[in-house]
């Protein structure tokens, strides 16, 4: 099960955070700082999975941006590692060459995409066109 999904840049600034279990807002900043520290300190040739408390962190770096997913021990790390990439591919498809700024300026839409993919910590959709379908409809409504 997925516990949280974070997008953090190299400076440790959070670009997106989504929690699938209740974490008090006052504790989130500390958790995110810890998580980023855990991932940033790792070398390129090291494993993409880290222990953090009773979670496992699965992280993947895209340029200066880290995507970090907190999962339980029963989850399949490699499938989550690829889920992250699938998510980035969806963003890339939607934003046609996604950048960190796209994510910052479209935080709501990135969330909407993520909501299509992960629900209650479960992977519910991975088909790119189906993930994007509702958002594309909304975009069309705005244009008209």
């Amino acid at each position: 099960m997925i516990k949280f999904f974070l997008m953090v840049n190299k400076q440790g600034q959070t670009r997106l955070s989504k929690y699938y279990e209740n974490v008090d807002i006052s504790k989130r900043a500390a958790l995110e700082a810890d998580v980023v520290k855990g991932c940033l300190s790792r070398r390129k040739d090291e494993c993409s999975f880290v222990e953090y408390k009773d979670y496992k962190l699965v992280y993947r770096q895209y340029a200066a941006l880290f995507i970090v997913v907190g999962i339980t021990d029963t989850e399949n790390e490699l499938s989550i590692y690829e889920l992250v990439h699938n998510f980035v591919e969806v963003l890339d498809k939607y934003f046609s060459r996604v950048s960190e700024l796209d994510i910052m300026f479209n935080l709501d839409k990135v969330h909407i995409i993520l909501d299509e993919m992960i629900l209650n910590g479960h992977v519910v959709e991975t088909n790119k066109s189906r993930i994007l379908a509702p958002l594309l409809v909304l975009d069309k409504m705005v244009e008209s």
Binding site: S26, E82, L107, D115, T126, V142
Partner: protein, 1036 residues
């Protein structure tokens, strides 16, 4: 693709000038959100951030409550609030406005309203009630996108009590023509099932309909519900296993539209989900498992694309294969797959391989053995997570033989670890292992001190609690308990003498409690308050999750009885070995041959070792003879042999949680006999043997009836002739000694079986007999009787030794008065040396006593070694139960027999007439060997797990006619080997050194010689046995 993304993102600094912004959904750089984002990217300090966000929140608050705010502005403000909350600043004033936006907005605005609600509120927030009406309205909307939004938010959070209000509407959507609506309705029901399962009890049939939906997305959504329900109870869903397998087969077979593919792999996450469901359904159910063998095989086969996602699927397959009812062929493929992972240069795959190994090692310890060298490399890996995962793996394979090495590795990791959770987890595991497998008191106290120092105040409270309880309750050996307490007190006193200030509080509490209790109360055995000095140590499970802490309960229950009872339990546990699933290890290159080669790179193929070379080395850390392996290689080999020792016999692992506190998990300190745990064959007789040993110190052998010499033998004053009478007379009545030295009997195996049966009844008899102290009084010589039927040797033997295989009687010494001869009785659990003292003279002999010495042997018991008197023409018997603790090719038993002659008719002892006879006899290692009956699979496992190793080529027997079989048979006859299997030019055999450990032989006929390869966990045993093998074949 990822390259493209990374390239794009690398170009980011250049994109920071906002004008260059491209892509969908651009924002004006002059908007307030744009300003916020730009300010955020320019932040340099936490202080700046705080100032900026506080200012932002004030601005939003002002504007949000203004009546003129449009929904579009509201949407922007909600995104800004999301930003503020994301950075950790609460924007609770905006929550109500988020609900309002969801209610009143249109399109994207509404969606952002719902999004803000789902991000701001938790499931128990009271404002959520205000959302119910909005959801109700949207569910009934004719605008499908609004229905979608409502269903999405409902699947994220919804007040439990309000489910009935919307349930009919959601159910209705299950038949909606649009797949996306049906899919989202199923996901909403999944949510309802998670938070209020009884609310959706009545619609199970609709779940089934969703499972059969023609759209793969709807079907996939229903799997979330099924997985959840099956987790809670698989029984009711087993009938669906065939359907799930069929779905998986279609997915794997590429029957889904291409858009479900990810990097050319069909719906990988769906495959994983289905595999998880099948795993749960097939667990503990053979017929259900059989339904999925095919599709699992196909999944393994199809996953040939070299991509992470295929490996993710493979990992799930492997887990499935090792969880469901075993199928040998699949397990072999899965094992290969794990091998590929573990050996992969890709670090993520290596990690996954270790994780898979950790998962399967409880069912198949062999797999860990096969990869021992990789595991050792991972133990020293520069990547901490790899190290950590390796320790986890080692934790699961810990036994009494490797505990010190593994605990040492864990402690070394702990000393460098700064992460609280990991420390807590690991100290718990170390403490658990220490309690279970501590080899001695000192080690235990020292290990626990390290645990207390390293664990500090993070330590789960059950660790000191259990430790103190152990110390105060003790075991059943007072001496042991006393020693333990003395060690503890001594160790703590010296700790305090150094610098106690660096010791953690909890440790100091333990120390002061131990010192105060055990220094002054003089080792009181009573129960003690465990809360001294306000130290609150509730007896509870540690904070580690139960599943993490594997606990071979079977092993620990035994602790109270005696160290040796572990043998019994090991055996009992091995009954649950899943051997049926292990493939037959024979290939054309011999059992497991291909696998051995990479593990033991430094073992030369045909090394010639000088024959008898009993190794003095102890403890299993001996490297096999090798052709100059590198220093590093040697270290690794050494580590491997100490880490993986005894692994294959430790299969009684239990996945259940830690049993309640220490009640059944008591400290085991009598570890001296644990070596024998791996020595016997796993059949019921060995547990009987263990029982026998348990009792033997109390009940020795049964009573003895001395037998009279016959007239015949009296008439033969020369001891040689007397001896021949004794030995030859009625030999046919004795079960033939199975290849004992001289007397070779072709029907040996049958008689051996008889002997075993005889032993078990003898053992039973011994247990039933009353407690016999000393035993000398019972050896009363009988008057001479002329009955010739009593003249056989067997009739001289005590009942429990009759019908056992025994050697001929050999004369040891004699003088005119007394003839001493001996024979060896090969009892199943020991060698019995029987001495027959025949008074051949005319006078009664007084104070006959025998003393034997052999420093290399353990004399387990003796009987009848002193007699007050031995009348003329009578025979008395005494015997010694002997065990060889360390292998020696031969041992010399020496001793003396002394007696006095009674003087004439007077009953006054003649003090001057004391006579002594010197005794000397030679015993061979072979006398202490017994066949070890095991299957080829068990042999294979054991072979890999033992480290003492020797190879040599020796001369073949019958080089022309089936040389292998005749050589093996010769060895079987002479050395009590059990021939496990013969295939082609190779054969394997096994024996055990009594109560010490097994020795395995691998023979191969090669270029006219017999290549012998021996392995054993007992140092020196392979060398010793090799010597006897050579002798046995030369003598023929």
């Amino acid at each position: 693709m990822s390259d493209v993304v990374e390239k794009t993102l690398t170009a980011l600094p250049g994109l920071l000038s906002l004008d260059s912004q491209t892509g969908a959904g651009k924002l004006s750089s002059t908007s307030k959100l744009g300003n916020l984002i730009r300010s955020i990217t320019e932040l340099t300090s936490k202080h700046d951030e705080e100032k900026l966000i506080k200012r932002e929140l004030v601005a939003i608050k002002e504007q949000v409550s203004s009546p003129n705010t449009t929904m579009r502005q509201m949407k922007e403000m909600m995104v800004r609030s999301i930003y503020c909350e994301m950075l950790g600043y609460e924007a609770d004033f905006s929550y109500i406005h988020a609900i309002k936006l969801a209610q009143q907005g249109a399109g994207l605005e509404k969606r952002v309203g719902y999004l803000a609600v789902s991000l701001f509120l938790n499931e128990n927030h009271e404002l959520l009630l205000l959302l119910v009406n909005t959801v109700l309205k949207d569910l009934q909307s004719t605008n499908l996108i609004e229905v979608c939004m409502a269903l999405t938010v409902v699947s994220q959070m919804f007040p439990k009590d309000m489910i009935p209000a919307i349930l009919p509407l959601v159910e209705e959507k299950l038949t909606h023509p649009k797949e996306i609506i049906r899919r989202k309705a199923v996901l909403a029901l999944h949510k309802f099932y998670l938070i209020a399962p009884n609310q959706v009890q009545h619609i199970h049939s609709k779940f089934r309909k969703a499972l059969c939906d023609k759209d793969p997305g709807v079907m996939a959504a229903s799997l979330h519900i099924y997985l959840q329900m099956i987790k809670e109870g698989a029984e009711a869903y087993r009938e669906l296993a065939g359907s799930f397998a069929a779905i998986l087969r279609q997915v794997v077979g590429g029957k889904l539209p291409v858009e479900f593919n990810y990097h050319s792999v069909p719906a990988p996450w769906l495959q994983i989900q289905l595999l998880r469901i099948l795993t749960l359904l097939g667990k503990d159910d053979q017929s259900t498992s059989e339904l999925m063998y095919d599709v699992l095989d196909e999944s393994l086969r199809r996953a040939e694309i070299n991509h992470n996602i295929t490996y993710a699927i493979l990992f799930e397959c492997v887990k499935a294969i090792y969880t469901i009812h075993p199928n040998a062929e699949l397990m072999e493929k899965a094992a290969k797959c794990i091998g590929n992972f573990v050996l992969s240069p890709k670090i993520n795959l290596k990690y996954l391989g270790l994780k898979a190994l950790t998962y399967v090692v409880q069912q198949d310890a062999n797999l860990a053995l096969q990869h021992q060298m990789t595991i050792i490399e991972c133990l020293d890996h520069s990547d901490r997570i790899i190290k950590r995962e390796t320790l986890e793996l080692l934790f699961r394979i810990t036994n009494a033989q490797n505990v010190t090495v593994i605990v040492e590795k864990m402690l070394a990791f702990l000393r460098l670890c700064h992460e609280d959770y990991t420390i807590m987890d690991l100290v718990g595991k170390v403490a658990e292992l220490a309690e279970k497998y501590a080899p001695d008191n000192r080690w235990f106290v020292e290990t626990m001190s390290t645990v207390f120092s390293v664990g500090g105040d993070l330590m789960p409270p059950d660790i000191p609690t259990n430790f103190l309880r152990l110390l105060s309750e003790g075991s059943d050996s007072e001496e042991d308990d006393r020693q333990l307490r003395v060690y503890a007190v001594e160790s703590y006193v010296s700790l305090l003498q150094t610098d106690p200030t660096h010791l953690p509080q909890r440790f100091l509490q333990v120390i002061s409690w131990v010192r105060n209790t055990h220094t002054f109360t003089v080792f009181a055995q009573n129960s003690l308050s465990l809360e001294p000095y306000g130290l609150s140590l509730p007896i509870s499970l540690s904070s580690c999750s139960i599943a993490d802490r594997q606990s071979p309960t079977l092993l620990s229950i035994s602790s109270g009885l005696s160290g040796n009872s572990t043998e019994l339990l090991h055996r009992a546990g091995s009954g649950s070995l899943r051997l049926d699933g292990v493939k037959r290890k024979w290939g054309k290159d011999g059992y497991l041959a291909q696998r051995e080669v990479p593990e033991e790179p430094s073992t030369p193929q045909e090394t010639s070792t000088p024959a008898p070379q009993p190794s003095p080395q102890q403890g299993g850390a001996l490297t096999p003879p090798s052709a100059e392996p590198s220093e590093e290689e040697r270290d690794k080999q050494q580590l491997a042999s100490s880490l993986f020792i005894g692994l294959s016999s430790q299969n009684s692992t239990c996945l259940m949680g830690k049993p309640e506190a220490s009640s059944s998990q008591r400290f085991r300190r009598k570890q001296k006999n644990t070596d024998s745990a791996s020595s016997s064959s796993g059949s019921s007789h060995s547990s009987r043997g263990a029982n026998h040993f348990l009792y033997s110190s109390l009940l020795e052998e049964g009573p003895v009836s001395p037998i009279m010499l016959t007239q015949n033998s009296v008439a033969q004053p020369k001891h040689k002739e007397a001896n021949s009478t004794l030995s030859e007379g009625d030999m046919p009545f004795l079960p033939a000694a199975n290849g004992l030295a001289e007397g070779h009997d072709p029907e040996a195996p049958a008689s051996l079986m008889l002997a075993n049966e005889a032993l078990s009844s003898a053992g039973g008899g011994a247990r039933d007999s009353p407690s016999l102290m000393g035993g000398m009084e019972l050896v009363q010589p009988c008057p001479l009787t002329p009955d010739p039927s009593h003249r056989s040797l067997s009739s001289h033997l005590p009942p429990e030794l009759q019908n056992l295989p025994c050697s001929d009687c050999a004369s040891l010494a004699s003088d005119g008065c007394l003839a001493l001869s001996c024979c060896r009785v090969h009892r199943e659990d020991a060698l019995v040396l029987v001495l027959l003292m025949a008074n051949t003279g005319g006078a009664t002999l007084l104070d006959v006593s025998v003393e034997l010495q052999c420093p290399q042997l353990k004399v387990a018991s003796l009987r009848g070694n002193a007699l007050e008197s031995l009348p003329s023409q009578s025979v008395s018997v005494c015997w010694y139960t002997l065990l060889m603790e360390e292998p020696h090719t031969h041992v010399e038993v020496t001793g003396s027999l002394s007696y006095r002659k009674e003087c004439g008719a007077s009953h006054t002892p003649d003090i001057s007439a004391s006579h002594t006879l010197d005794i000397s006899t030679r015993l061979s290692l072979a006398h202490f060997l017994r066949p070890l009956v095991l299957s080829t699979e068990e042999y294979g496992k054991l072979w890999l797990s033992v480290s003492q190793d020797v190879k040599q080529n020796i001369q073949l027997l019958d080089p022309d006619r089936d040389p292998l079989r005749s050589s093996l048979t010769a060895l079987q006859d002479k050395l009590q080997l059990h021939i496990v299997d013969i295939i082609g030019s190779e054969g394997i055999a096994a024996c055990q050194l009594l109560r010490r450990g097994p020795c395995l032989l691998h023979c191969r006929v090669h270029a006219g010689v017999l290549a012998l390869w021996l392995r054993s966990p007992v140092p020196g045993l392979p060398d010793g046995l090799l010597y006897h093998c050579q002798r046995a074949l030369q003598e023929r």
